[in-house]
Protein backbone atom coordinates (compact mmCIF):
# COMPACT_ATOMS: atom_id res chain seq x y z
CA UNK A 1 0.00 0.00 0.00
CA UNK A 2 1.15 3.52 -0.75
CA UNK A 3 0.43 4.49 2.85
CA UNK A 4 3.73 3.03 4.08
CA UNK A 5 6.52 5.30 2.77
CA UNK A 6 9.36 3.04 3.98
CA UNK A 7 8.13 0.02 2.06
CA UNK A 8 6.01 -1.22 4.96
CA UNK A 9 8.91 -2.09 7.25
CA UNK A 10 7.59 -3.40 10.55
CA UNK A 11 9.09 -1.94 13.77
CA UNK A 12 10.95 -4.54 15.89
CA UNK A 13 8.74 -4.16 19.00
CA UNK A 14 5.82 -5.23 16.83
CA UNK A 15 7.62 -7.71 14.59
CA UNK A 16 9.05 -9.95 17.32
CA UNK A 17 5.80 -10.56 19.26
CA UNK A 18 3.93 -10.95 15.98
CA UNK A 19 6.40 -13.61 14.80
CA UNK A 20 6.22 -15.41 18.16
CA UNK A 21 2.43 -15.27 18.03
CA UNK A 22 2.40 -16.78 14.57
CA UNK A 23 4.78 -19.55 15.65
CA UNK A 24 2.68 -20.26 18.71
CA UNK A 25 -0.46 -20.65 16.60
CA UNK A 26 1.11 -22.60 13.74
CA UNK A 27 3.60 -24.92 15.48
CA UNK A 28 1.08 -27.20 17.22
CA UNK A 29 -0.63 -27.85 13.90
CA UNK A 30 2.75 -28.54 12.28
CA UNK A 31 3.55 -30.91 15.16
CA UNK A 32 0.31 -32.73 14.49
CA UNK A 33 1.22 -33.15 10.83
CA UNK A 34 4.81 -34.23 11.61
CA UNK A 35 3.77 -36.81 14.17
CA UNK A 36 0.96 -38.23 12.08
CA UNK A 37 1.37 -41.97 11.37
CA UNK A 38 1.08 -41.45 7.63
CA UNK A 39 1.96 -45.09 6.80
CA UNK A 40 -0.81 -46.59 8.89
CA UNK A 41 -3.26 -43.77 8.21
CA UNK A 42 -5.55 -45.91 6.06
CA UNK A 43 -5.85 -48.60 8.68
CA UNK A 44 -6.42 -46.11 11.47
CA UNK A 45 -9.16 -44.36 9.52
CA UNK A 46 -10.90 -47.66 8.90
CA UNK A 47 -10.75 -48.63 12.57
CA UNK A 48 -14.15 -49.24 14.13
CA UNK A 49 -15.46 -46.28 16.05
CA UNK A 50 -13.68 -43.63 13.97
CA UNK A 51 -16.31 -43.52 11.24
CA UNK A 52 -19.01 -43.73 13.86
CA UNK A 53 -17.67 -40.76 15.83
CA UNK A 54 -17.14 -38.73 12.67
CA UNK A 55 -20.65 -39.45 11.42
CA UNK A 56 -22.16 -38.58 14.80
CA UNK A 57 -20.14 -35.36 14.94
CA UNK A 58 -21.16 -34.25 11.46
CA UNK A 59 -24.83 -35.11 11.99
CA UNK A 60 -25.12 -33.51 15.42
CA UNK A 61 -23.22 -30.35 14.40
CA UNK A 62 -25.44 -30.02 11.33
CA UNK A 63 -28.61 -30.54 13.38
CA UNK A 64 -27.39 -28.03 15.97
CA UNK A 65 -26.77 -25.53 13.15
CA UNK A 66 -30.26 -26.10 11.73
CA UNK A 67 -31.83 -25.56 15.16
CA UNK A 68 -29.68 -22.45 15.60
CA UNK A 69 -30.83 -21.11 12.20
CA UNK A 70 -34.51 -21.70 12.93
CA UNK A 71 -34.31 -20.07 16.37
CA UNK A 72 -31.33 -17.76 15.99
CA UNK A 73 -32.20 -15.81 12.83
CA UNK A 74 -35.55 -14.62 14.24
CA UNK A 75 -33.80 -13.83 17.51
CA UNK A 76 -31.19 -11.77 15.66
CA UNK A 77 -33.98 -9.92 13.85
CA UNK A 78 -35.66 -9.08 17.15
CA UNK A 79 -32.35 -7.81 18.54
CA UNK A 80 -31.55 -5.75 15.45
CA UNK A 81 -34.93 -4.42 14.33
CA UNK A 82 -37.63 -4.51 17.00
CA UNK A 83 -38.12 -1.73 19.51
CA UNK A 84 -39.09 -3.92 22.45
CA UNK A 85 -38.07 -2.87 25.96
CA UNK A 86 -35.09 -4.53 27.57
CA UNK A 87 -33.50 -5.34 24.25
CA UNK A 88 -29.99 -4.75 25.57
CA UNK A 89 -30.71 -7.05 28.52
CA UNK A 90 -31.97 -9.67 26.07
CA UNK A 91 -28.81 -9.34 24.01
CA UNK A 92 -26.67 -9.80 27.13
CA UNK A 93 -28.63 -12.90 28.13
CA UNK A 94 -28.41 -14.41 24.67
CA UNK A 95 -24.65 -14.00 24.52
CA UNK A 96 -24.00 -15.47 27.98
CA UNK A 97 -23.11 -18.89 26.51
CA UNK A 98 -20.25 -17.16 24.66
CA UNK A 99 -18.44 -16.38 27.90
CA UNK A 100 -19.77 -19.24 30.00
CA UNK A 101 -17.36 -22.18 30.40
CA UNK A 102 -18.97 -24.98 28.34
CA UNK A 103 -18.81 -27.38 31.30
CA UNK A 104 -20.96 -24.96 33.29
CA UNK A 105 -23.34 -24.87 30.35
CA UNK A 106 -23.52 -28.65 30.47
CA UNK A 107 -24.30 -28.61 34.17
CA UNK A 108 -26.97 -25.96 33.62
CA UNK A 109 -28.58 -27.99 30.84
CA UNK A 110 -28.53 -31.01 33.12
CA UNK A 111 -30.29 -29.09 35.88
CA UNK A 112 -33.06 -27.98 33.51
CA UNK A 113 -33.46 -31.00 31.23
CA UNK A 114 -32.21 -33.84 33.46
CA UNK A 115 -34.62 -36.44 34.80
CA UNK A 116 -35.06 -34.37 37.96
CA UNK A 117 -34.74 -31.04 36.13
CA UNK A 118 -37.19 -28.17 36.00
CA UNK A 119 -38.42 -29.17 32.54
CA UNK A 120 -36.89 -32.64 32.28
CA UNK A 121 -38.70 -33.94 35.40
CA UNK A 122 -42.27 -33.34 34.16
CA UNK A 123 -41.20 -34.54 30.70
CA UNK A 124 -40.00 -37.84 32.16
CA UNK A 125 -42.98 -38.26 34.48
CA UNK A 126 -45.52 -37.57 31.74
CA UNK A 127 -43.97 -39.24 28.69
CA UNK A 128 -41.08 -41.24 30.00
CA UNK A 129 -38.73 -39.16 27.87
CA UNK A 130 -35.24 -38.74 29.23
CA UNK A 131 -32.90 -36.40 27.38
CA UNK A 132 -29.47 -36.65 29.05
CA UNK A 133 -26.97 -39.17 27.62
CA UNK A 134 -28.75 -39.33 24.25
CA UNK A 135 -27.85 -37.98 20.81
CA UNK A 136 -30.56 -35.36 21.38
CA UNK A 137 -28.56 -34.17 24.37
CA UNK A 138 -25.49 -33.84 22.15
CA UNK A 139 -27.42 -31.67 19.71
CA UNK A 140 -28.86 -29.55 22.53
CA UNK A 141 -25.47 -29.06 24.17
CA UNK A 142 -23.91 -28.03 20.86
CA UNK A 143 -26.80 -25.70 20.05
CA UNK A 144 -26.49 -24.05 23.46
CA UNK A 145 -22.84 -23.27 22.93
CA UNK A 146 -22.87 -22.47 19.20
CA UNK A 147 -26.11 -20.53 18.60
CA UNK A 148 -24.83 -17.21 20.04
CA UNK A 149 -22.17 -17.15 17.30
CA UNK A 150 -24.91 -17.29 14.69
CA UNK A 151 -27.11 -14.74 16.45
CA UNK A 152 -24.29 -12.21 16.76
CA UNK A 153 -23.17 -12.71 13.17
CA UNK A 154 -26.71 -12.30 11.76
CA UNK A 155 -27.49 -9.36 14.03
CA UNK A 156 -24.35 -7.63 12.80
CA UNK A 157 -25.36 -8.24 9.19
CA UNK A 158 -28.85 -6.88 9.86
CA UNK A 159 -27.47 -3.74 11.52
CA UNK A 160 -24.99 -3.16 8.72
CA UNK A 161 -27.74 -3.62 6.11
CA UNK A 162 -29.76 -0.72 4.76
CA UNK A 163 -33.10 -0.75 6.62
CA UNK A 164 -34.53 1.65 4.03
CA UNK A 165 -35.09 -1.33 1.73
CA UNK A 166 -37.61 -2.55 4.29
CA UNK A 167 -39.39 0.81 4.13
CA UNK A 168 -39.52 0.49 0.35
CA UNK A 169 -41.03 -2.98 0.66
CA UNK A 170 -43.68 -1.64 3.05
CA UNK A 171 -44.65 1.10 0.58
CA UNK A 172 -45.02 -1.66 -2.03
CA UNK A 173 -47.62 -3.48 0.04
CA UNK A 174 -45.41 -5.97 1.87
CA UNK A 175 -46.24 -6.65 5.53
CA UNK A 176 -43.37 -7.26 7.95
CA UNK A 177 -43.32 -11.04 7.46
CA UNK A 178 -43.35 -10.73 3.66
CA UNK A 179 -40.66 -8.06 3.91
CA UNK A 180 -38.56 -10.36 6.08
CA UNK A 181 -38.85 -13.26 3.62
CA UNK A 182 -38.49 -11.39 0.34
CA UNK A 183 -36.17 -8.52 1.25
CA UNK A 184 -34.47 -8.72 4.65
CA UNK A 185 -33.40 -12.36 4.53
CA UNK A 186 -32.06 -12.34 0.94
CA UNK A 187 -30.08 -9.17 1.70
CA UNK A 188 -28.40 -10.63 4.81
CA UNK A 189 -27.98 -14.11 3.29
CA UNK A 190 -24.16 -13.82 3.21
CA UNK A 191 -24.14 -12.90 6.91
CA UNK A 192 -26.46 -15.81 7.70
CA UNK A 193 -24.19 -18.17 5.76
CA UNK A 194 -21.09 -16.93 7.55
CA UNK A 195 -22.84 -17.22 10.90
CA UNK A 196 -24.02 -20.74 10.08
CA UNK A 197 -20.50 -21.88 9.15
CA UNK A 198 -19.08 -20.38 12.33
CA UNK A 199 -21.87 -21.97 14.37
CA UNK A 200 -21.27 -25.33 12.71
CA UNK A 201 -17.52 -25.20 13.36
CA UNK A 202 -18.11 -24.32 17.01
CA UNK A 203 -20.64 -27.15 17.36
CA UNK A 204 -18.25 -29.61 15.71
CA UNK A 205 -15.53 -28.84 18.25
CA UNK A 206 -17.83 -28.81 21.28
CA UNK A 207 -16.46 -30.83 24.20
CA UNK A 208 -17.28 -29.55 27.68
CA UNK A 209 -21.04 -29.16 27.54
CA UNK A 210 -21.39 -32.37 25.53
CA UNK A 211 -19.45 -34.63 27.89
CA UNK A 212 -21.22 -33.11 30.91
CA UNK A 213 -24.77 -33.27 29.58
CA UNK A 214 -24.63 -36.13 27.10
CA UNK A 215 -21.82 -38.30 28.46
CA UNK A 216 -19.40 -40.32 26.37
CA UNK A 217 -21.15 -43.33 24.84
CA UNK A 218 -19.68 -44.62 21.56
CA UNK A 219 -22.30 -44.56 18.82
CA UNK A 220 -24.80 -42.29 20.58
CA UNK A 221 -22.95 -39.41 22.27
CA UNK A 222 -19.24 -39.89 21.59
CA UNK A 223 -18.38 -37.13 19.11
CA UNK A 224 -14.97 -36.57 17.56
CA UNK A 225 -13.55 -34.26 20.26
CA UNK A 226 -14.61 -36.77 22.92
CA UNK A 227 -13.07 -39.62 20.93
CA UNK A 228 -9.82 -37.68 20.56
CA UNK A 229 -9.59 -37.06 24.29
CA UNK A 230 -10.36 -40.70 25.13
CA UNK A 231 -7.94 -42.06 22.51
CA UNK A 232 -5.13 -39.89 23.84
CA UNK A 233 -5.31 -41.84 27.14
CA UNK A 234 -4.96 -45.25 25.47
CA UNK A 235 -3.39 -45.00 22.00
CA UNK A 236 -1.92 -41.58 21.08
CA UNK A 237 -1.59 -42.55 17.38
CA UNK A 238 -5.36 -42.89 17.06
CA UNK A 239 -5.78 -39.50 18.77
CA UNK A 240 -3.49 -37.94 16.15
CA UNK A 241 -5.49 -39.45 13.30
CA UNK A 242 -8.78 -38.27 14.76
CA UNK A 243 -7.26 -34.82 15.29
CA UNK A 244 -6.13 -34.76 11.65
CA UNK A 245 -9.68 -35.41 10.53
CA UNK A 246 -10.98 -32.55 12.65
CA UNK A 247 -8.17 -30.36 11.33
CA UNK A 248 -9.14 -31.18 7.73
CA UNK A 249 -12.76 -30.34 8.43
CA UNK A 250 -11.77 -27.07 10.15
CA UNK A 251 -9.54 -26.08 7.23
CA UNK A 252 -12.36 -26.75 4.82
CA UNK A 253 -14.53 -24.44 6.94
CA UNK A 254 -11.85 -21.77 6.85
CA UNK A 255 -11.69 -22.02 3.06
CA UNK A 256 -15.44 -21.59 2.91
CA UNK A 257 -15.15 -18.44 5.03
CA UNK A 258 -12.08 -17.11 3.27
CA UNK A 259 -13.87 -14.98 0.72
CA UNK A 260 -16.03 -13.39 3.35
CA UNK A 261 -13.57 -12.66 6.13
CA UNK A 262 -9.98 -13.11 5.11
CA UNK A 263 -10.77 -11.61 1.73
CA UNK A 264 -12.24 -8.55 3.40
CA UNK A 265 -9.29 -8.04 5.74
CA UNK A 266 -7.07 -7.19 2.77
CA UNK A 267 -8.34 -3.96 1.19
Amino acid sequence: MSRAPDGGRIPAPLLVPAALGTAFLVLPVVGLLVRAPWSSLGAQLAAPGVGEALRLSLISATLATLVSLVLGVPLAWVLARSRIRGRSVLRALVTVPLVLPPVVGGVALFLVLGRRGVLGGPLYDAFGISIPFTTTAVVLAETFVAMPFLVISVEGALRAGDARFEDVAATLGADRWTTFRRVTLPLVAPGVAAGAVLCWARALGEFGATITFAGNFPGTTQTMPLAVYLALQREPEAAIVLSLILLAVSLATLLLLRDRWLGRAVP
Binding site: D167, T171, G173, P186
Partner: protein, 350 residues
Protein backbone atom coordinates in the same frame (compact mmCIF):
# COMPACT_ATOMS: atom_id res chain seq x y z
CA UNK B 1 -58.02 11.32 -5.30
CA UNK B 2 -57.69 14.18 -2.87
CA UNK B 3 -55.08 13.96 -0.18
CA UNK B 4 -55.77 15.98 2.93
CA UNK B 5 -53.23 16.01 5.69
CA UNK B 6 -52.87 17.87 8.93
CA UNK B 7 -49.82 16.44 10.60
CA UNK B 8 -48.22 17.21 13.94
CA UNK B 9 -45.13 15.42 15.16
CA UNK B 10 -42.28 15.98 17.58
CA UNK B 11 -39.24 13.96 16.62
CA UNK B 12 -35.98 14.85 18.33
CA UNK B 13 -35.41 18.57 17.86
CA UNK B 14 -37.99 18.72 15.08
CA UNK B 15 -41.40 20.19 15.85
CA UNK B 16 -43.55 19.56 12.80
CA UNK B 17 -47.04 20.98 12.26
CA UNK B 18 -48.08 21.09 8.62
CA UNK B 19 -51.43 21.20 6.85
CA UNK B 20 -51.69 20.41 3.18
CA UNK B 21 -54.19 19.39 0.56
CA UNK B 22 -53.48 17.90 -2.85
CA UNK B 23 -56.22 17.52 -5.44
CA UNK B 24 -56.67 14.88 -8.12
CA UNK B 25 -53.86 15.04 -10.64
CA UNK B 26 -52.19 17.86 -8.78
CA UNK B 27 -48.48 17.97 -8.00
CA UNK B 28 -47.61 19.66 -4.72
CA UNK B 29 -43.98 20.48 -4.01
CA UNK B 30 -42.87 20.67 -0.41
CA UNK B 31 -39.86 22.96 -0.60
CA UNK B 32 -37.56 23.67 2.29
CA UNK B 33 -34.02 23.59 3.62
CA UNK B 34 -32.45 20.43 5.04
CA UNK B 35 -33.82 19.60 8.46
CA UNK B 36 -37.08 21.48 7.88
CA UNK B 37 -39.06 18.28 8.38
CA UNK B 38 -39.90 17.58 4.74
CA UNK B 39 -38.76 13.96 4.73
CA UNK B 40 -40.38 13.31 8.11
CA UNK B 41 -43.65 14.64 6.67
CA UNK B 42 -43.27 12.28 3.72
CA UNK B 43 -42.65 9.31 6.03
CA UNK B 44 -45.83 10.18 7.91
CA UNK B 45 -47.84 10.37 4.67
CA UNK B 46 -46.36 7.01 3.63
CA UNK B 47 -47.41 5.44 6.93
CA UNK B 48 -43.82 4.64 7.92
CA UNK B 49 -44.03 6.98 10.90
CA UNK B 50 -47.21 7.46 12.94
CA UNK B 51 -47.93 11.16 13.54
CA UNK B 52 -48.16 12.54 17.06
CA UNK B 53 -51.38 14.32 16.19
CA UNK B 54 -53.65 15.21 13.32
CA UNK B 55 -55.23 13.42 10.40
CA UNK B 56 -54.29 12.11 6.99
CA UNK B 57 -57.15 11.22 4.66
CA UNK B 58 -57.45 10.29 1.01
CA UNK B 59 -60.83 10.89 -0.59
CA UNK B 60 -62.31 11.04 2.88
CA UNK B 61 -60.91 7.66 3.95
CA UNK B 62 -58.73 8.21 7.02
CA UNK B 63 -55.18 6.84 6.77
CA UNK B 64 -54.21 8.42 10.04
CA UNK B 65 -56.51 9.87 12.66
CA UNK B 66 -54.74 10.24 15.97
CA UNK B 67 -57.88 11.32 17.84
CA UNK B 68 -59.78 8.24 16.63
CA UNK B 69 -56.78 5.95 17.06
CA UNK B 70 -56.63 5.13 13.35
CA UNK B 71 -53.30 4.26 11.74
CA UNK B 72 -53.24 2.44 8.43
CA UNK B 73 -49.78 0.83 8.18
CA UNK B 74 -47.67 1.62 5.13
CA UNK B 75 -48.29 -1.72 3.39
CA UNK B 76 -52.05 -1.20 3.40
CA UNK B 77 -51.90 2.27 1.80
CA UNK B 78 -52.40 2.46 -1.97
CA UNK B 79 -49.36 4.59 -2.63
CA UNK B 80 -46.11 4.67 -4.51
CA UNK B 81 -42.90 6.16 -3.16
CA UNK B 82 -39.73 7.10 -5.02
CA UNK B 83 -36.76 7.65 -2.74
CA UNK B 84 -33.68 9.74 -3.33
CA UNK B 85 -31.33 6.83 -4.04
CA UNK B 86 -33.83 4.79 -6.08
CA UNK B 87 -33.33 1.94 -3.57
CA UNK B 88 -33.99 -0.84 -6.05
CA UNK B 89 -33.71 -4.21 -4.29
CA UNK B 90 -30.20 -5.32 -5.22
CA UNK B 91 -31.00 -9.05 -5.07
CA UNK B 92 -33.80 -8.82 -7.63
CA UNK B 93 -33.72 -8.11 -11.35
CA UNK B 94 -35.07 -4.78 -12.56
CA UNK B 95 -38.27 -6.48 -13.78
CA UNK B 96 -38.73 -8.28 -10.44
CA UNK B 97 -38.28 -4.94 -8.72
CA UNK B 98 -41.04 -3.41 -10.80
CA UNK B 99 -43.26 -6.45 -10.17
CA UNK B 100 -42.65 -6.45 -6.41
CA UNK B 101 -45.68 -4.37 -5.45
CA UNK B 102 -47.96 -6.39 -7.72
CA UNK B 103 -46.68 -9.65 -6.25
CA UNK B 104 -47.30 -8.59 -2.65
CA UNK B 105 -50.82 -7.60 -3.70
CA UNK B 106 -51.51 -11.00 -5.18
CA UNK B 107 -51.51 -10.19 -8.91
CA UNK B 108 -50.98 -13.31 -11.04
CA UNK B 109 -47.63 -13.91 -12.65
CA UNK B 110 -48.55 -13.49 -16.31
CA UNK B 111 -50.35 -10.27 -15.54
CA UNK B 112 -47.40 -9.00 -13.48
CA UNK B 113 -44.96 -9.71 -16.29
CA UNK B 114 -47.08 -7.84 -18.82
CA UNK B 115 -47.59 -4.83 -16.54
CA UNK B 116 -43.91 -4.64 -15.60
CA UNK B 117 -42.79 -4.86 -19.24
CA UNK B 118 -45.26 -2.16 -20.24
CA UNK B 119 -43.98 0.18 -17.54
CA UNK B 120 -40.34 -0.50 -18.32
CA UNK B 121 -41.07 0.45 -21.92
CA UNK B 122 -42.93 3.53 -20.74
CA UNK B 123 -39.96 4.81 -18.71
CA UNK B 124 -37.52 3.99 -21.51
CA UNK B 125 -35.95 0.86 -20.02
CA UNK B 126 -37.16 -1.49 -22.74
CA UNK B 127 -35.14 -4.72 -22.67
CA UNK B 128 -33.30 -3.94 -19.42
CA UNK B 129 -35.69 -5.97 -17.24
CA UNK B 130 -33.29 -8.87 -16.82
CA UNK B 131 -30.46 -6.68 -15.50
CA UNK B 132 -29.47 -6.29 -11.88
CA UNK B 133 -29.90 -2.80 -10.37
CA UNK B 134 -26.10 -2.53 -10.02
CA UNK B 135 -25.85 -2.67 -13.82
CA UNK B 136 -28.02 0.43 -14.26
CA UNK B 137 -26.88 4.05 -14.36
CA UNK B 138 -28.25 6.45 -11.75
CA UNK B 139 -30.81 7.85 -14.17
CA UNK B 140 -31.94 4.38 -15.26
CA UNK B 141 -32.28 3.26 -11.65
CA UNK B 142 -34.44 6.28 -10.83
CA UNK B 143 -36.63 5.55 -13.89
CA UNK B 144 -37.03 1.94 -12.73
CA UNK B 145 -37.92 3.17 -9.24
CA UNK B 146 -40.61 5.40 -10.77
CA UNK B 147 -41.99 2.45 -12.75
CA UNK B 148 -42.00 0.35 -9.56
CA UNK B 149 -43.93 3.06 -7.71
CA UNK B 150 -46.50 3.65 -10.45
CA UNK B 151 -47.16 0.12 -11.75
CA UNK B 152 -49.65 -0.59 -8.95
CA UNK B 153 -51.81 2.43 -9.91
CA UNK B 154 -51.45 4.15 -6.53
CA UNK B 155 -53.85 6.83 -5.31
CA UNK B 156 -50.96 8.90 -4.02
CA UNK B 157 -47.41 9.25 -5.32
CA UNK B 158 -44.72 10.46 -2.95
CA UNK B 159 -41.37 11.62 -4.31
CA UNK B 160 -38.52 12.19 -1.86
CA UNK B 161 -35.78 14.26 -3.53
CA UNK B 162 -36.10 12.04 -6.60
CA UNK B 163 -33.49 13.90 -8.65
CA UNK B 164 -30.91 15.04 -6.14
CA UNK B 165 -28.71 11.93 -6.41
CA UNK B 166 -28.29 12.43 -10.17
CA UNK B 167 -25.58 14.38 -11.94
CA UNK B 168 -26.58 17.69 -13.50
CA UNK B 169 -27.00 16.47 -17.08
CA UNK B 170 -28.98 13.35 -16.14
CA UNK B 171 -31.11 15.39 -13.76
CA UNK B 172 -32.19 17.62 -16.63
CA UNK B 173 -33.30 14.64 -18.73
CA UNK B 174 -34.98 12.72 -15.92
CA UNK B 175 -36.73 15.88 -14.70
CA UNK B 176 -38.31 16.38 -18.11
CA UNK B 177 -39.42 12.72 -18.21
CA UNK B 178 -40.74 12.91 -14.67
CA UNK B 179 -42.78 15.95 -15.65
CA UNK B 180 -44.36 13.94 -18.47
CA UNK B 181 -45.21 11.01 -16.16
CA UNK B 182 -46.61 13.32 -13.50
CA UNK B 183 -48.86 14.98 -16.05
CA UNK B 184 -50.23 11.56 -17.01
CA UNK B 185 -50.67 10.46 -13.39
CA UNK B 186 -54.24 10.90 -12.17
CA UNK B 187 -53.63 10.65 -8.43
CA UNK B 188 -52.20 13.18 -5.99
CA UNK B 189 -48.46 13.75 -5.99
CA UNK B 190 -46.34 15.14 -3.18
CA UNK B 191 -42.80 16.07 -4.19
CA UNK B 192 -40.32 16.78 -1.42
CA UNK B 193 -37.31 18.76 -2.55
CA UNK B 194 -34.79 21.38 -1.50
CA UNK B 195 -34.14 22.31 -5.13
CA UNK B 196 -36.33 25.22 -6.26
CA UNK B 197 -35.80 24.23 -9.90
CA UNK B 198 -37.48 20.86 -9.26
CA UNK B 199 -40.36 22.62 -7.53
CA UNK B 200 -40.76 25.21 -10.30
CA UNK B 201 -40.49 22.66 -13.12
CA UNK B 202 -42.69 19.90 -11.70
CA UNK B 203 -45.22 21.35 -9.29
CA UNK B 204 -48.61 22.96 -9.75
CA UNK B 205 -48.38 24.36 -6.25
CA UNK B 206 -45.57 24.91 -3.78
CA UNK B 207 -45.60 24.71 0.00
CA UNK B 208 -42.53 26.16 1.64
CA UNK B 209 -41.67 24.52 4.97
CA UNK B 210 -39.14 25.94 7.39
CA UNK B 211 -38.47 24.54 10.86
CA UNK B 212 -41.55 22.35 10.73
CA UNK B 213 -43.96 25.10 9.72
CA UNK B 214 -45.54 26.17 6.42
CA UNK B 215 -44.20 29.67 5.74
CA UNK B 216 -45.62 30.19 2.27
CA UNK B 217 -47.93 28.52 -0.25
CA UNK B 218 -48.72 29.45 -3.81
CA UNK B 219 -48.07 28.65 -7.42
CA UNK B 220 -44.39 28.32 -8.34
CA UNK B 221 -44.65 31.70 -10.06
CA UNK B 222 -46.12 33.44 -7.01
CA UNK B 223 -43.53 31.97 -4.68
CA UNK B 224 -40.78 32.89 -7.10
CA UNK B 225 -41.90 36.50 -7.59
CA UNK B 226 -43.15 37.30 -4.12
CA UNK B 227 -41.12 35.39 -1.55
CA UNK B 228 -42.16 35.82 2.06
CA UNK B 229 -39.05 34.57 3.84
CA UNK B 230 -35.33 35.05 3.38
CA UNK B 231 -34.93 31.39 2.51
CA UNK B 232 -37.37 31.56 -0.39
CA UNK B 233 -36.00 34.92 -1.48
CA UNK B 234 -32.50 33.47 -1.61
CA UNK B 235 -33.73 30.51 -3.66
CA UNK B 236 -35.44 32.91 -6.06
CA UNK B 237 -32.33 35.09 -6.08
CA UNK B 238 -34.08 38.12 -4.60
CA UNK B 239 -33.18 40.51 -1.80
CA UNK B 240 -36.14 40.64 0.54
CA UNK B 241 -36.62 43.89 2.49
CA UNK B 242 -39.49 43.94 5.01
CA UNK B 243 -40.80 47.38 5.93
CA UNK B 244 -43.81 49.71 6.21
CA UNK B 245 -45.37 51.37 3.20
CA UNK B 246 -45.79 55.17 3.44
CA UNK B 247 -47.04 56.42 0.08
CA UNK B 248 -44.27 56.05 -2.48
CA UNK B 249 -41.63 55.02 0.00
CA UNK B 250 -41.11 51.96 2.16
CA UNK B 251 -39.51 52.54 5.55
CA UNK B 252 -37.48 49.38 6.15
CA UNK B 253 -37.62 47.47 9.46
CA UNK B 254 -33.84 47.25 9.40
CA UNK B 255 -33.42 51.00 8.83
CA UNK B 256 -33.28 52.96 5.59
CA UNK B 257 -35.88 54.00 3.05
CA UNK B 258 -36.70 52.57 -0.38
CA UNK B 259 -38.41 54.63 -3.07
CA UNK B 260 -41.01 52.61 -4.96
CA UNK B 261 -43.16 53.22 -8.03
CA UNK B 262 -46.58 52.58 -6.49
CA UNK B 263 -48.45 53.84 -3.44
CA UNK B 264 -48.54 51.42 -0.51
CA UNK B 265 -49.37 51.48 3.17
CA UNK B 266 -48.92 49.16 6.12
CA UNK B 267 -46.54 46.21 6.41
CA UNK B 268 -45.05 45.28 3.05
CA UNK B 269 -42.15 43.45 1.48
CA UNK B 270 -39.90 45.20 -1.00
CA UNK B 271 -38.10 42.73 -3.24
CA UNK B 272 -35.13 43.61 -5.42
CA UNK B 273 -33.70 41.44 -8.18
CA UNK B 274 -29.87 41.28 -8.25
CA UNK B 275 -29.67 42.36 -11.89
CA UNK B 276 -31.47 45.64 -11.15
CA UNK B 277 -28.81 46.72 -8.66
CA UNK B 278 -25.99 48.86 -10.13
CA UNK B 279 -22.71 49.53 -8.37
CA UNK B 280 -20.55 52.70 -8.45
CA UNK B 281 -17.36 53.74 -6.74
CA UNK B 282 -18.55 57.35 -6.31
CA UNK B 283 -22.03 58.55 -5.49
CA UNK B 284 -23.88 58.87 -8.82
CA UNK B 285 -25.76 62.11 -9.58
CA UNK B 286 -28.91 62.48 -11.63
CA UNK B 287 -32.32 60.89 -11.83
CA UNK B 288 -34.19 60.30 -8.58
CA UNK B 289 -33.59 56.73 -7.48
CA UNK B 290 -32.45 54.72 -4.54
CA UNK B 291 -28.81 55.27 -3.65
CA UNK B 292 -27.21 53.53 -0.66
CA UNK B 293 -23.66 53.27 0.60
CA UNK B 294 -22.55 49.66 1.15
CA UNK B 295 -19.55 47.43 1.57
CA UNK B 296 -18.76 44.40 -0.56
CA UNK B 297 -19.17 41.42 1.76
CA UNK B 298 -18.57 38.65 -0.76
CA UNK B 299 -18.44 37.90 -4.47
CA UNK B 300 -19.05 34.62 -6.30
CA UNK B 301 -19.11 33.89 -10.03
CA UNK B 302 -22.68 33.31 -11.20
CA UNK B 303 -22.89 32.42 -14.86
CA UNK B 304 -21.50 35.31 -16.90
CA UNK B 305 -21.89 37.69 -13.98
CA UNK B 306 -20.45 38.10 -10.50
CA UNK B 307 -22.93 37.92 -7.65
CA UNK B 308 -21.97 40.53 -5.05
CA UNK B 309 -23.23 40.36 -1.48
CA UNK B 310 -23.54 43.86 -0.07
CA UNK B 311 -23.52 44.72 3.61
CA UNK B 312 -24.86 48.03 4.87
CA UNK B 313 -28.04 49.59 6.13
CA UNK B 314 -29.90 47.99 3.21
CA UNK B 315 -28.54 44.47 2.59
CA UNK B 316 -28.66 43.70 -1.12
CA UNK B 317 -27.37 41.26 -3.67
CA UNK B 318 -26.10 42.67 -6.95
CA UNK B 319 -25.22 40.94 -10.21
CA UNK B 320 -22.59 42.78 -12.22
CA UNK B 321 -20.85 41.61 -15.36
CA UNK B 322 -17.40 40.14 -14.90
CA UNK B 323 -16.02 43.04 -16.97
CA UNK B 324 -17.66 45.67 -14.80
CA UNK B 325 -16.50 43.85 -11.68
CA UNK B 326 -12.90 43.95 -12.88
CA UNK B 327 -13.20 47.60 -13.97
CA UNK B 328 -14.46 48.64 -10.55
CA UNK B 329 -11.49 46.81 -9.01
CA UNK B 330 -13.68 45.55 -6.20
CA UNK B 331 -12.25 43.71 -3.23
CA UNK B 332 -14.00 42.34 -0.17
CA UNK B 333 -14.71 45.18 2.22
CA UNK B 334 -14.55 47.81 -0.54
CA UNK B 335 -16.96 50.75 -0.18
CA UNK B 336 -19.44 51.10 -3.06
CA UNK B 337 -22.63 52.92 -3.90
CA UNK B 338 -25.59 50.73 -4.83
CA UNK B 339 -28.47 52.14 -6.86
CA UNK B 340 -31.87 50.71 -7.80
CA UNK B 341 -34.58 52.38 -9.87
CA UNK B 342 -37.85 52.81 -7.99
CA UNK B 343 -39.67 51.03 -10.83
CA UNK B 344 -37.45 47.97 -10.33
CA UNK B 345 -38.59 47.39 -6.75
CA UNK B 346 -41.50 44.95 -6.33
CA UNK B 347 -43.77 45.79 -3.40
CA UNK B 348 -46.40 43.50 -1.92
CA UNK B 349 -48.31 43.22 1.33
CA UNK B 350 -46.85 41.13 4.15
Amino acid sequence: MTLQASVALRHGSLDLAVDLEVADGEVLAVLGPNGAGKSTLLRVLAGLLPPGGGRVAVDGTPWDDVAAGTHLPAHRRPLGVVFQDALLFPHLTVADNVEFGLRTRGVRKAERRTAARAWLTRVGLDGLGDRRPAQLSGGQAQRAALARALVGRPAVLLLDEPLSALDARTRLVVRAELRRHLTAFSGSTVLVTHDPVDAMALADRVVVVEEGRVVQTGTPDEVNKRPRTDYVARLAGLSLLPGTGEGRVVRLDGGGVVAVAEETSGPVFAAVRPESVALYLTRPEGSPRNVWPARLAGATPHGATVRCELAGEVPLVADVTAGAFAELGLEPGAAVWATVKASEVAVYAR
